[in-house]
């Protein structure tokens, strides 16, 4: 087992395209690190460089304190789980799992023992003599895991290992991956584009965009104090609502209501020119049906009246949509977020914007009925519209 350190690691391709730029990342021994970001953000390139499957253009990669830039993958003692699983189709499950040990010329008894142990951990005992083609998706995924854990490597690298599974199985295998990693306590780097996986699995999460690291932090820290607009929008589902705003003398002017900022938040933000264009971020759960907000809570925020266009009953809660008058946002990072979600602008009319709120299941909200909504002023986020940097973090 070992720690992994990326020291100003870059990857530039022959056509001049830079996939990874000056990446600094320290992954502690036994840590579960997630690399997450939209397509093309460089997370898989970073993983392949750690694996040794791609050359490092500049910078230094250290595994267990040793510089391994020039080492072949086979000499790095790390195991990888591929998105396609990359199971050898002409070998049985047993031979697939044993392959690395056979290449290392381990004694037969040791190989058998280790394969059986891995099979037990992964519940594959009854499938050892089958070929990959005869396995279900979940079983194949477990064989791929088995191939990695059987070697006791210094680290596991996982490249979107769950993305080929259907939704239900994915949740199940997610828990399994977490359980196995916890049990073996092996340093793990896990690449995904799914923020839910990132949040639920990782000790820490590194968010990347356009080859650059945006923020590394624990999941809760990312959620509560995102460093910029992109991180704020990428983490959380449904995503954070973004609205144009200005701050004048401690009062934030949002499209639906003016909010007096709590002293603590105002101090964090500091002095702001009242003409400066800002973007305010409100997470859906920081709204509430005013009728269900206790009097002690009520002071922390402001209320406003609106009508809901859409009410989605989720059972444990409601997702409600309402429209506010607001100019569309001009921000590069907002565009990046849109691109990640498939580039679908909400279908509201020009000059208006849809806000999603998460309300208590007890509230009796209905479509088109005027309702008083409360917003938690202490949980507001403010971003510089030009740079996307958070002012409140």
């Amino acid at each position: 087992m070992a720690d992994i350190v990326l020291d100003r690691v870059s990857k530039t391709y022959s056509d001049g395209y830079t996939a990874v730029k000056d990446l600094n990342l320290e992954i502690a021994d036994g840590e579960f690190m997630i690399l997450v970001g939209p397509s093309g953000c460089g997370k898989s390139t970073a993983l392949n460089m750690i694996a040794g499957l791609e050359d490092i253009s500049s910078g230094e990669l250290r595994i267990g304190g040793e510089v391994v830039n020039k080492k072949a993958p086979r000499d790095r003692d790390i195991a990888m789980v591929f998105q396609s699983y990359a199971l050898y189709p002409h070998m049985t499950v047993r031979d697939n799992i044993a392959f690395a040990l056979k290449l290392a010329k381990r004694p037969k008894e040791e190989i058998d023992a280790k394969v059986n142990e891995a099979a037990e951990i992964l519940d594959l005992q009854n499938h050892l003599e089958r070929k990959p083609a005869n396995l279900s998706g979940g079983q194949r995924q477990r064989v791929a895991m088995g191939r990695a854990i059987v070697r006791n490597p210094k680290a596991f690298l996982m490249d979107e290992p769950l993305s080929n599974l259907d939704a239900k199985l994915r949740v199940q295998m997610r828990a399994e991956v977490a359980r196995i990693q916890h049990r073996l306590n092996t340093t793990t780097v896990y690449v995904t584009h799914d923020q839910t996986e990132a949040m639920t699995l990782g000790d820490r999460v590194a968010i990347m965009l356009h080859g650059e690291l945006q923020q590394v932090a624990s999941p809760m820290e990312l959620y509560n104090t995102p460093k910029n607009l992109f991180v704020a929008g990428f983490i959380g589902s449904p995503g954070m609502n973004f609205l144009p705003a200005t701050i004048d003398n401690g009062v934030a002017k949002l499209p639906m209501v003016d909010v007096k900022l709590p002293q603590e938040l105002a101090d964090r933000i500091g002095r702001i020119d009242s003409n400066k264009k800002l973007i305010a971020g409100v997470r859906p759960e920081d709204f509430e049906d005013a009728a269900h907000v206790g009097p002690d809570q009520r002071d922390r925020g402001t209320t406003f009246k609106t009508k809901f266009d859409l009410v989605e009953a989720m059972g444990a809660e409601y997702y409600v949509h309402f429209t506010v008058r607001a100019d569309s946002l001009q921000s590069a990072q907002v565009d990046d977020l849109l691109a990640d979600s498939g580039g679908i602008q909400d279908l509201s009319e020009e000059g208006s914007s849809v806000v999603v709120a998460r309300l208590d299941a007890e509230s009796k909200v209905k479509v088109d009925e005027p309702t008083e909504v409360w917003v938690d002023a202490t949980k507001l986020h403010f971003f510089d519209a030009d740079s996307g940097e958070s002012l409140s973090a």
Partner: protein, 277 residues
């Protein structure tokens, strides 16, 4: 697809017609090969007396057929092995490596596969006589290669593209050297494609008539199809048809057996890529 009664009858009938179409000429030549010389002119479809006489005439007579068969087998096999070796290297490079000139090589190979053989054979006829390749095995193997190569390169490329090359990376991560990854992971997966390309190359060489007819003069390199075309009766009053038929069956049977055993492979080889084109 659900069929109505009439459709069922129609397609069943179609099946029978296709079977007849494909098999009658072959059955006919076989039947002719079993006819006794006395009844060869009876113009009946099936022999009245069955005999092996024609076969013994082919193998024992002074027709040079044994030697021709030996030449055919040797030349076709060497062609196949060489074509596979050269084409496998090229196809690997074309599917796996990035280098300028790839498209030109593919286009050139395609163009060569369209060349009319007659346009090449004249030049070869003249050059081979000068350099001493006329009427030798290499003198046939080389032109066969030039036609087997494009076919093999295309077939192998189509197969190689289907190999999940992630496996090569996976093997590297499992601690394999490049050579180990190739031998233990890639090669077993590539074998079906290599095998298919080999069969197609063999058939190409075995089937040729023009090159063998022009570039050989004696038994030393004459192949079986050419020998067949040279069959004459023992005297000018003897009809060589029986011997020709027997020789034809002998030339055809090995290929037919091969084709039937490996039919799946051959079909996938023939249609590889062309369908997607």
């Amino acid at each position: 697809m659900e069929y109505t009664r009439n459709q069922k009858i129609l397609w069943a009938l179609g099946t029978v017609v296709v079977l007849f179409y494909a098999l009658i000429p072959v059955i006919w030549i076989m039947s002719l090969s079993f006819k006794a010389p006395a009844t060869i002119g009876d113009t009946r479809f099936l022999p009245s007396d069955w005999t092996w006489e024609n076969y013994s005439a082919v193998f024992e007579g002074g027709l040079g057929f044994n030697r021709a068969l030996f030449n055919s087998i040797g030349i076709a096999m060497i062609t196949t092995v060489l074509a596979l070796a050269l084409a496998a290297m090229a196809a690997y490079a074309i599917t796996r490596l990035q280098f300028p000139g790839k498209t030109i090589i593919l286009a050139g190979a395609l163009a060569i596969s369209m060349f009319p053989q007659i346009s090449i054979v004249g030049g070869l006829f003249n050059v081979w006589r000068v350099v001493g390749l006329y009427d030798t095995w290499p003198g046939l193997i080389l032109p066969y290669l030039s036609f087997a190569l494009p076919l093999s390169i295309y077939t192998l490329s189509a197969f190689f593209r289907e190999i999940p090359w992630d496996l090569e990376k996976a093997a590297q991560m499992d601690g394999a050297t490049g050579a180990q990854a190739f031998r233990r992971v890639i090669l077993p997966l590539a074998m079906p494609g290599v095998f298919t390309a080999g069969i197609l190359a063999f058939i190409t060489a075995w089937n040729d008539f023009l090159f063998a007819n022009v570039l050989t003069a004696t038994d030393s390199a004459r192949t079986a199809p050419v020998a067949l075309s040279f069959f004459r009766g023992a005297s000018q009053f003897t009809d060589p048809s029986g011997a020709i038929a027997a020789g034809a069956v002998v030339v055809t049977i090995p290929i037919l057996i091969m084709v039937l055993i490996f039919q799946r492979r051959i079909v996938s080889g023939l249609t590889a890529g062309a369908v997607k084109g």
